[in-house]
Symmetry: C2
């Protein structure tokens, strides 16, 4: 079964392991492959997280529900990524979001006990898991810094300054304004306006996705 999904080697949880190693680790451990049709709810917010889910095919999305019952799409999850790694352990063991398939999908379901057995038998998997949760935390940390500590111009400046630290002064953006907007938690026109403002202030020369960084010090000032 496991051998049918060779790209599992690319999953953060199995990195550094060959598909044979993965497969043999799974030999004496319980797991399931479940099929879901498009639009089906895989997990409801509040369900107990007593198993690890990994997307094998198709794709799923996480949707948050607030008190008033409205839903907001949080993120898409594609193969071979795991779901909700940060909720398998920790204080709250319930899914924070609904998980719904975007299309017909298959998920690998591994009960929590099995996970612990995998960890015991294969130190690499444990390390990978630690890395996965840690990365999640780091991602969230970064996101908070972004959301909380700067204006939109600051966010753009910060984003561009990441290139500077790599010695790149003529940037070709690898994301659309929409993607940047989502990353920054703001609206798309605001991103456009921010870029235009930086341009008008002479800090950058923006032309579509091509951006020349002119006044590095000025950009740093934007971080407030």
């Amino acid at each position: 079964m496991i051998q049918d999904y060779p790209f599992l080697e690319k999953s953060p949880l199995f990195r550094g392991l060959s598909i044979e190693e993965i497969s043999s680790a799974f030999a004496d451990v319980h797991y399931q492959v479940k099929k879901y049709s498009k639009g089906q709810m895989v997990v409801s917010a509040g369900d107990k997280v007593d198993r690890l889910l990994i997307v094998l095919s198709g794709s799923v999305k996480g949707e948050m529900i607030d008190f008033s019952g409205k839903t907001i799409k949080i993120e898409d999850i594609n193969p071979p990524m795991p779901l909700a790694v940060a909720f398998l352990f920790g204080k709250s063991n319930t899914f924070p979001v609904n998980i719904i398939t975007n299309e017909d999908s298959e998920l690998l379901v591994i009960p929590k006990e099995s996970i612990l057995r995998l960890f015991q038998e294969n130190k690499m998997m444990l390390l990978n898991f630690l890395n996965a949760i840690s990365n999640r935390s780091q991602f969230l940390s970064q996101k908070i810094k972004f959301l909380n500590f700067t204006t939109i111009k600051g966010k753009i400046a910060n984003y561009l300054l990441q290139y500077v630290s790599q010695g790149i002064l003529e940037v070709v953006l690898d994301k659309s304004q929409n993607e940047l907007a989502e990353l920054f938690g703001v609206t798309r026109p605001s991103v456009g306006r921010g870029i235009r403002d930086l341009h008008n202030e002479g800090l950058i020369e923006a032309n579509g996705k091509n951006i020349k960084l002119i006044d590095i010090q000025g950009l740093k000032e934007c971080l407030k």
Copy 2:
């Protein structure tokens, strides 16, 4: 040495273990207790995280630095809490913040290899560590939801609705407006204004720290 710090039993990393068990687990493992005087920098942002630090006495703070060189206090960390658990593993293995002592302090320093050995020998510690990182993620998730998904009125409403779920309809706030402002990442007058608005709209009756919750459904609507 370890026995000198019995409150380590209360550290998230050693929960469920007696001080004797902790001490014996540490018997054949490298570690250090380091003393720092008040105001000393324990770790600079960017330093490699190749060791786990746990506050034994005193207290330390984490300060973030942005590109322009300004510092912002992130949080205080008191005994017996660990530092930067989410950065010992994961992609980025450098401290995201400066760590500075608030007062004379002692820190327990455990190299990463020692941590891994502790995990191998004591499954409880591994579980505790997984829990600690997971909790951190969950905390950050929650914070992001708060920062990103609601207006100030929404944040206040959300805060008040937590009481409702405990069956409390006449709240006595346990935080000042200043503290709420900090929690929400907004300014103090804005919190005041938010409360006043909710009051004027008839959703609550606010009088200083005493708040009667009138229109629960309306409060839920505020979450947008």
